[in-house]
Amino acid sequence: MKEHDIERMVASIYHQREEPMSRRSWLRAAGLGFGSLGLSALLADEHSVMAMPQVQNPLAPKAPHNPAKAKRVIFLFMHGGPSSIDTFDPKERLDREDGKPLPFKRPLSFDNKNDAGPLMKSPWKFRPGGKSGIPVSDLFPHVRDCVDDLCIIRSMVGEGVDHGAALLQTFTGTSTFIRPSMGSWTVYGLGTENQNLPGFIAIKPSLAHGGAKNWSSAFLPGAYQGTAIGHAGLKVDDIKGEPIEYLINKRFSTDQQRFELDMLQNINRRHEALRQNDPQLEARIQAFELAFRMQAEAPEAFQVDKESETTKKLYGLDNPATQDFGWQCLLARRLAERGVRFIQCTHSYKWDQHSELFNGHTRNAREVDKPIAGLLRDLKSRGLLDDTLVIWAGEFGRTPVSQGGDGRDHNPYGYSIWMAGGGVKPGFVYGATDEIGYHAVEDRMHIHDFHATVLALLGLEHDRLTYRYSGRDFRLTDVAGVVANKILS
């Protein structure tokens, strides 16, 4: 049919019509107007749907390889590198030999140009906590009260002596190449439980030291990319309005949006029907429906303000020092509750005390101690801690020798992290560093082993969770990784 013919016909129809069409009628017209290719006919034509290669929802929940002990992860990341020997790994020998030279040659450091200072004892006292009596320093009095829930790993080993390498290895397994992050692998392996929220969320992540590569999917499909909620440089108040990019329509009511979406889907259905119901077109139609539900339901997940005053206090939201990380922790709990698979919180780049260890670590710990304890208690009281794995870690620890008189340099050779809930042994200490806290010597847990263990807790076998890229099967643990069975409850 020639164009001018169509126009002529349209004009005649237009003039014949007396009443404006109701919404119902244009929807109906869309369906009926299709003749033999009508919508209803096509929907019934299963054969054509069957024949096309199907497009799977990449985020649909998938069964793990083994029964999972943890269904989700909350990773509390302390950017900058908190000192283990000042927090979770007491070293008596350092107290005794304060000011004495390092008894062996210093391994590769971050600052190799200046000669390292002597051994420096911790300015904080360690005290036993809980029934387990596991010692925690005075930097973390609130967390110490929860120590019976912690599984402290004192023998972490990484390879990067600079922040970038260490962050990338912590989150992606390698500092040499850009690879998918732990959260992306997890969602790739397990999908996610709540389709109205992203499966992998990074709350206020750092832009530095790898930036988005620390929550990116790299060569995995983009659907497994972490969704950032603001970034570390923003204030919570600047994020609350629109936590996820494009989530909020600033102009229309839901009703009006649905009205518009109905028309869009009508056009899309018509288009799809003329194209043998090509599944990639169907996938995009479904994506719009999902997005519509997401924008209706996701904002509620971010409404931390709706929590009770008691809960807010528990996380330290009433105190300016703790309210930022408290908000992150409380949001993490809300997201965990709603089935988000992998959640990262970041205490932004503050722990890097090359100098003034005392002031810096005091301030930092004050900002996170109460919120973290609040999170642990809250998860526990809601019964969520059983299947939520909480991880507390920096990218490395710090040296037992001083730097610049009153600071400590980076130390990836032996440092502490802890986990709680989700299938790890509570009130347990795993591994050990040498007498001064420089090298991990017992039950060393390389970052690859850490990743293998986290995946194991999620029911995933790290050597079976692979993705074929560039002719090779890749995995989070590269060609390494041993699950630390001793810490599994």
């Binding site: 126009e7 129809i13 237009y14 404006p20 069409m21 017209a29 024949a51 985020l59 008894p103 040659k105 391994p107 190799n112 990067g160 002596v161 600079d162 970038g164 390498a165 500092s175 040499t176 190449f177 832009l207 530095a208 030291h209 790898g210 930036g211 988005a212 790299a218 499909p221 983009g222 440089g233 990019e245 494009y246 329509n249 028309m263 869009l264 056009i267 899309n268 288009h271 799809e272 003329l274 043998q276 990639q280 995009r284 994506a287 719009f288 999902l290 997005a291 519509f292 932004s348 100098s355 003034e356 260890l357 002031n359 301030r363 009153d406 040498d434 017992e442 002719g471 060609v479 041993v482």
Partner: protein
Amino acid sequence: MPANRQMLKKFSLLIFFILGSAVLLTPRVMTQQAVAGGSTEQVEFFEKKIRPVLMNNCAACHNPDAKIAGLDLTTAEGFRGGGESGPLIDRQNPENSRLLKVVGYEEKLKMPPTGKLREDELVDLAAWVKMGAPWPASNLSSTPHAAETKVVNGVKSSTREFTPDERAYWAFQPVRSVKPPEVSDNAWVRTPVDAFILHKLEGNKLSPAQEADKHTLLRRATLDLTGLPPTEAEMHAFLADQSPDAFAKVVDRLLASPRYGEKWGRNWLDVARYADSTGNDEDHRYPNAWRYRDYVISSFNNDLPYDQFLREQLAGDLIPAKRPGEVNRQGITATGFLALGPKAIAQQDKKKMLYDVYDEQLDVTTRAFMGLTVACSRCHNHKFDPILTRDYYSIVGIFAGTRSFSDPMAFVSESLNKPLVTKSEYDAWLAAKKAHQEKAKRRQLEIGEIVDAAKERMAARQTDRLAEYMLSARNVHINKAESNSLAETQGLDPAILEKWVKYLNPDNIKQHLLVWKNSEAASINQVAGDYEKRFLAQLSKWNETLSAWRVKYRQALKDGTELPDKPGFDGGKDRFFDEIYFRKGPFSVTQEDKHRFTPGEIKRIAELKAELENLKKEAPPEPEMACAVEDGDVVEQKVFIRGDYHNEGEEAPKAAPAILAEKTGPLPEVKTGSGRLELAQWLTRPDHPLTARVMVNRIWQWHFGDGIVRTPDNFGKMGERPTHPELLDYLAARFIQSGWSIKSMHRLIMLSSAYRMSSEVSAQALAADQENKLLTRFNRRRLTVEEMRDGVLALSGDLDLTMGGTLQEGTGTDGENDNKRLSLNPELLTRRTVYLPLRRANLPTLLNLFDFGDATAPSGKRQLTNVATQALFWMNSEFLTEATKKIARALPQEKQSDVAARIQSAYRRILGRPASLDEIKTGHGYLEDFRRKYPIEEPAHASWQSFCRILIASNDFVYVD
């Protein structure tokens, strides 16, 4: 411990079996085999009993960095390598092993020096040595060809005989000269391409899809070649042109458009993993990478022969300029291909960093040009392809002789920026810059001296009252005394006291103030006195330092020689002094403290500052620079065993991969320099089996959505086989014959009937050819993120078609969580997406969302997804709201009765086709309903804006048939 003994027994049996069955294996291979065949018990014994002993007692000195006595006890290789005094293990008589004697304190040398090991540890070690000291590598990987390892002159070699199958692998065979096959339906054959496609279809009793209608074809071709939708005028012209070569004219027009280079240049930039910063750790900007991007765009626009394009990207700096004495600007710029990759520049193991960079350069080179994953051979021979570790290091040696850094050894390594002017021009600029900096420095130093003079005047009167200030501040804190009146009664400077009050705030948690904070009233005077004493001692030392400098400074001023840098105080030496005397502390003076200066001083500072401002304008402009590489010192590369540079193996002279050299002959002899030019020459040999095939396959894929080989960056065994091998060879041969002309490939492909097929598929074809490997129809595809964004901007009339240059500002990196770390937001800009700078560590959200990729590795094919977060963009983004407002307003402004015509116009503009009768009816109904339901909206436009947004968000717009 019976359980343990039983385990050991199993363990030794296993070792026995292996020793007995493979006597010739080297120890390294043996342990690998042992572990590969063994159980986790073995790993557990070593990890539980042995490694902790070694780590706990030995590793502090015997690690790869310290390597005291040449010994590294942290790795299997290190252990086996022994120390300066020989091997640790005696395999014939394990009890006599040196290791056991030393730890047993049996000889003069006793280890560890801090005390003998515990008895049980010694027993474990002895048991382990007896077993042959198996050391399971934690990053173990089995190498299928390990058994074939040869030993040449005492060094393990990775070379081996290739199998007949490996030699016969399709991609290594020379490109065949193929004639288009005979087909029955000759009418369908427009270009020889069609004969190949149709031949295969006929063989499968299938027929090609109908020809696409003209609207579809024009939209397809226009997006394909330019990345933009066709305009209404272009559509009219094409529809009106009834001549048989109407489409050929369109293709020619599109190929001649500068927009072509922007689209196809972007395709290549994916392969070249282009971005404007180092990514990885510090994400420093590449301030000149954009010149490479512009080079790529203009190369496509000018149809630069691909062999030259390839040679320039690898070795353009080594190709002489057209005219003698000039600089080959284009060639130097092209080497940005090697230079702009991701780099871990804060890595402190600088040798590792450099070899990671060479690895990255090798990877992008071999995958982009040959479709081979040579980088997989870094640690062991390639698992699937006949690529040897030695092949890897033979190419790495070429990059190791190439410089990508101006200062690799810097704390944060500095990337190379290469002048695009002659050396003499550049040197003249350096001299001018130095002279200019000296002028500025003289003024800055003078300002500093005026400020210091004022500070020293103040200090002379105040610093010996430091204790009084501290005590008064305490008085304010504890007794709530009023600061100003206290100052008055004490005869203290009120401004200074106020600073002290602030500084000594009890909430301040500085360690060097703890003594002060925790002192009792009884001792407080004493403590304050101590603080004062230490301060004054430090001050007098500092003044000496300054005086010594001043002598030199004044002399240099007099002589007119280079001025010495003024010393700065190292805060780590004395935090208290640093915070009091500098950093706006109580006893510091800065330019802002006007009352500390004489009128003459104030005037002079103002003059100097004005001069500095003027000087800024006079700064000699930097010559144009490129993000590029250059030849460095020649490196005689050796194989690094298991990729570890501490562990050198056989020599790896510069060479082409052996399996390919068998077909093409060797790399031209590298007489001088890095060998990059020779590598480029070898790659562009007309008989190279991969170069032309890989590129024509890329071109085919960028047209059809899928390549003839569907893994464009991997032609190896793990890649896919060609669906149409004869066609691939035909195209490759034609490509070379055409003088490597990419545009002639476009014509050959696009003028075919295959390219004109509809994307509609018959039930029969769908059943027989689900994945469209036979090409029964054209592949429907989603728009790329560039096509979406640029297309919307084109429709709204906002698209800025300025070409080239950069929007990136600054150098280096930014504060850790500064917004400047983010890439510029594409939604706030109007240039074509290809021109937006990319901060590699933080790519724009929009690009991440729509599958741009991550710009860190060569990517010949984007993986396009459909997820809800993308739909949110179409529903809610302000970018679309603004754009659709403009699009709606630009529709013909006519009377209400011409709604149908406006709907038609919206369809034609946005979707490149007329609306059907149904669509007009439906659209009309929607607009009417909208106005009735939402009458408060701005008349007319709101409903039209909504309608336009719907069309733009629809699959009709987002997919190309």
